[in-house]
C-alpha cells in the first residue's frame, strides 16, 4: 500500500542499476526509464506554458486548484482506516497460514509452488505486506530461482486492489462500490494465474 510512497526511492535505485554496466539492460528499459524521468518535468513545464499562452492566469488558477488538496486527503481518512485496520488485523492474526493450507491442494494442480500462494493472496490486500513476502521468498530461494522469479512477476502483475478502492472512492465519498471489488479481484485472480502460466513457459 506504500507503493506510491516508495516508488521514488525505487526510481533512484533503478537509475543506479541502469548506470551499472554489469547489468544487462534492454532498449525497452532505457526508453521507459527515459519517459519516467522526464514525464513529470515535462508536464510541470508544458502545462503552465500552454495555459499562459491561452491567457490563463497561471498562478491564481494553480492556487484555486491546489486548495482542494487538503480536503481530498482528509476525506480519504475514514475509508482508509476501515480498510487498513481490517487488513492489518488479518495479517497479524496468522489466518493467512490457514488459508494457504486450505488452498494449497488447488495450487498444486496448476503447477504453482505452495510457497508463492501467500503472495497471490496478500497482493490485493497490502502492497507492503506482499512485498515483504516476495522479499522473504527471494532471500530463501534466491531471486533467480523459479519461486523468486514467479513471486516477482506476481507482485508486478497487479495493484493493491483494496487500497485503490478505498482511496479512489473515498476521495469522492462513494460508499456503495457496486461491482468494483468483484471486477478488481477477478483481474487479480487472472493476473496471478497468468503469472504462473507465463513463468512456466518462460522460466521452465
Amino acid at each position: 500500500m506504500l507503493d506510491s510512497l516508495t516508488s521514488t526511492a525505487a526510481v533512484d535505485t533503478l537509475a543506479q542499476v541502469v548506470q551499472n554496466p554489469a547489468v544487462q539492460e534492454s532498449l525497452f528499459v532505457m526508453i521507459m526509464k527515459g519517459f519516467s524521468n522526464y514525464a513529470v518535468p515535462f508536464l510541470l513545464l508544458t502545462i503552465p506554458i500552454l495555459g499562459f499562452i491561452k491567457k490563463v492566469k497561471v498562478y491564481e488558477t494553480f492556487i484555486e486548484g491546489a486548495k482542494e488538496g487538503f480536503e481530498v486527503a482528509v476525506k480519504i481518512i475514514p475509508y482508509l482506516v476501515a480498510i487498513l485496520v481490517a487488513i492489518g488485523m488479518f495479517r497479524a492474526s496468522g489466518a493467512m497460514g490457514y488459508l494457504v493450507k486450505i488452498l494449497s491442494p488447488l495450487t498444486n494442480l496448476i503447477g504453482m509452488p505452495a510457497e508463492t500462494l501467500p503472495v497471490a493472496l496478500m497482493r490485493p490486500l497490502s502492497g507492503s505486506g506482499s512485498l515483504g513476502i516476495v522479499t522473504e521468498l527471494m532471500k530463501v530461494h534466491g531471486p533467480d530461482s523459479f519461486i523468486g522469479r514467479l513471486a516477482s512477476t506476481m507482485f508486478g502483475s497487479t495493484e493493491t486492489t483494496f487500497y485503490v478502492i478505498a482511496v479512489y472512492f473515498g476521495s469522492v465519498g462513494v460508499r456503495k462500490t457496486r461491482h468494483a471489488i468483484s471486477s478488481g479481484l477477478l483481474g487479480d485472480l487472472v493476473g496471478m494465474l497468468m503469472a504462473v502460466f507465463i513463468c512456466r513457459v518462460v522460466f521452465g
Binding site: T13, V17, I76, V85, D144, S157
Partner: protein, 213 residues
C-alpha cells in the same frame, strides 16, 4: 461485496487470533494500522495540492479537452455514459499514462482528480457509476511496464538479471487489466447492478437533494 469482505476480515482475524493466542497482536495491529491510514492520507496533501493545481491550469487552458478528443474512440466504448469532450476523459488518460510510466506519486492525484470529474456527472453521490467501476478496474489491475519496487529488491538481493521479470509482468498485468475491464462491463449487466446504476435511475426529486447536499 465490500460489506462481506470487511466483516469477514475482522471476524476471521479475531477468531483466529483468539484461537492461536495472537489476540494481542491483532489488537496492536488495529491501532497501528488506524494510525498508519491517517499518516498515508496526510502524506498525500502536498502532492495532491501540486497536481490539482497543475490540472486546474490544464483544464482552464483547454489541454484536458484536447486529450479527451485524442482517445474518443476508445473512451466511447469504455465510458459510454460520459460526454466525449468532458474533462473526465482527459484526466483519466493522464492517470493511466502516469500508471504505465510507474509515476506512483503523480498517478494517484491524477486518478483522484478524475474521480472528482466522474462524480460531477453522478446523480447518486454515494453510489459508484458504471464509468467509475471501469476506471477503478483500469487502476486496480493496471498494466505495469516496469515494476520498479520489486526490481529494486531483486537488485539488492544480487539477482543476475533483475529485469528479466519485466516481460512476464507485462503479460500477466495486461491479462489482469483486460479481465478486470471486461468483468466490469459484464457485471454491470447483472440485474442487481442495473438496479443500483445511478445512470438508470429516473430523475427523482430526492436526487436533486443529494446533489445539493
Amino acid at each position: 461485496m465490500l460489506n462481506y469482505i470487511w466483516l469477514g476480515l475482522m471476524v476471521i482475524s479475531i477468531v483466529v487470533g483468539a484461537l492461536t493466542g495472537n489476540l494481542a497482536a491483532v489488537t496492536d495491529a488495529a491501532v497501528a494500522y488506524a494510525a498508519m491510514a491517517v499518516e498515508i492520507a496526510l502524506g498525500l496533501i502536498g502532492i495532491m495540492a501540486l497536481w490539482l493545481g497543475i490540472m486546474k491550469i490544464a483544464e482552464e487552458g483547454g489541454i484536458i479537452r484536447i486529450l479527451s478528443r485524442l482517445i474518443r474512440p476508445i473512451a466511447k466504448w469504455l465510458f459510454p455514459d460520459i460526454p466525449p469532450d468532458h474533462p473526465a476523459i482527459g484526466t483519466m488518460l493522464m492517470n493511466i499514462i502516469a500508471n504505465w510510466l510507474g509515476l506512483g506519486n503523480a498517478s494517484t492525484p491524477l486518478g483522484l482528480k478524475a474521480m472528482k470529474e466522474l462524480q460531477s456527472l453522478n446523480k447518486v453521490k454515494d453510489t459508484a457509476t458504471n464509468s467509475m467501476v471501469v476506471f477503478l478496474a483500469l487502476n486496480t489491475a493496471s498494466i505495469t511496464f516496469i515494476p520498479m519496487t520489486v526490481i529494486a529488491v531483486r537488485v539488492e538481493l544480487g539477482s543476475a538479471n533483475p529485469f528479466e521479470i519485466i516481460s512476464t509482468g507485462i503479460v500477466a498485468s495486461t491479462c489482469a487489466c483486460i479481465t478486470a475491464v471486461i468483468a466490469a462491463k459484464l457485471l454491470q449487466r447483472l440485474p442487481k447492478n442495473r438496479r443500483s446504476n445511478p445512470d438508470l435511475l429516473p430523475d427523482a426529486p430526492q436526487d436533486q437533494e443529494v446533489e445539493n447536499a
